[in-house]
């Protein structure tokens, strides 16, 4: 009996303590809210960023689409070359692929280095 009443008291005091902590949290964060005034950017700032985001998304889409097309063409030609048994075509496509891909990868790496610096 004693133990259960003690447990009840303990549970009650814990919840009271929790409520007190929550109250302190609310008051403190309200004070923090009042202490800092936020300067909201102008409507033009939002519109400018929106335009920039659209440009970036369009450029990214075009790049991905071009990469997809290029990969598809290479795979198609290699498949045809293998099925039709034209080794020359196979090697020409491999060489062309390397010639095109190496400068692109080098350029991308350089751009990344510039971004980091």
């Amino acid at each position: 009996m004693d133990r259960s009443s003690n447990t009840n008291k303990e549970a009650h005091s814990i919840s009271e303590q929790e409520e007190d902590t929550i109250q302190q949290l609310k008051q403190g964060l309200d004070e923090l809210d009042q202490a800092f005034s936020v300067s909201t950017p102008s409507l033009e700032w939002f519109e400018h960023n929106l335009r920039e985001q659209k440009k970036i998304m369009k450029a990214r889409f075009l790049r991905d689409f071009a990469f997809f097309l290029f990969s598809a063409v290479v795979i198609m030609i290699v498949t045809i070359a293998i099925y039709r048994a034209i080794p020359l075509l196979f090697f020409v496509v491999q060489a062309l692929g390397l010639l095109i891909l190496i400068p692109i990868i080098t350029l991308q790496k350089k751009q990344k280095q510039v971004d980091h610096s």
Partner: protein
């Protein structure tokens, strides 16, 4: 249909002005939320802008199941958690200490003694627990809502908040003048 819902509808149809107005209306609220979870005004500014950019891209995915401000809070919270996970522990610690020192100084100028005690205690609680406690006990979100926001089970949310609140209590007793519970 209220003004915000109209703006959302227009924004989802591609109206740039409507989207800009919508984001502008929620900017202050969002930044204040981020200041509370990061305790760093500089980081809060960066994160608010990043959240805005993400909202611009994802506006068509907003389904209206929660308030628009809650959707922004969800984006910001996930960005913050990702950011903290990506950073190296040392860099993170240094940034937190510097950011907190600035915030502390700014509040000290305004003689906000209650906030100072609370902030010191909040800073000792881990980032994720702090975020959960604030979402539950300051903004009043339900455990299930927080679970959906952060994509974690609601049982986990509940136990973490309980644990976090205990930690916060302990830190408040250590830092604040509330010695009566000791």
């Amino acid at each position: 249909m209220n003004e915000e819902q109209q703006l959302i509808k227009q924004a989802q149809k591609g109206n740039s002005l409507a989207l800009s107005q919508l984001l502008q209306q929620n900017y202050g609220f969002l930044q204040k939320y981020i200041i509370k979870i990061t305790l760093n005004t500089h980081l809060a500014e960066d994160l608010t802008q990043e959240t805005m950019l993400k909202a611009m891209i994802k506006i068509k995915l907003y389904d209206g199941s929660s308030k628009f401000s809650s959707w922004l809070i969800t984006i910001a919270s996930r960005l913050y958690i990702d950011l903290q996970r990506r950073k190296k522990r040392e860099v993170l610690y240094q940034e937190q200490v510097e950011g907190f020192r600035k915030l502390h100084w700014q509040l000290h100028q305004q003689d906000a003694s209650l906030s100072l005690d609370l902030l010191q205690a909040l800073q000792q609680v881990s980032d994720e627990l702090r975020l959960l406690i604030i979402l539950k006990h300051y903004y009043g979100y339900a455990y299930e809502e927080i679970a959906l926001m952060l994509n974690i089970p609601s049982g986990t949310v509940k136990s973490r908040i309980h644990h976090g609140l205990k930690n916060l209590r302990k830190e408040l007793v250590n830092h604040g003048p509330q010695q009566q519970y000791q």
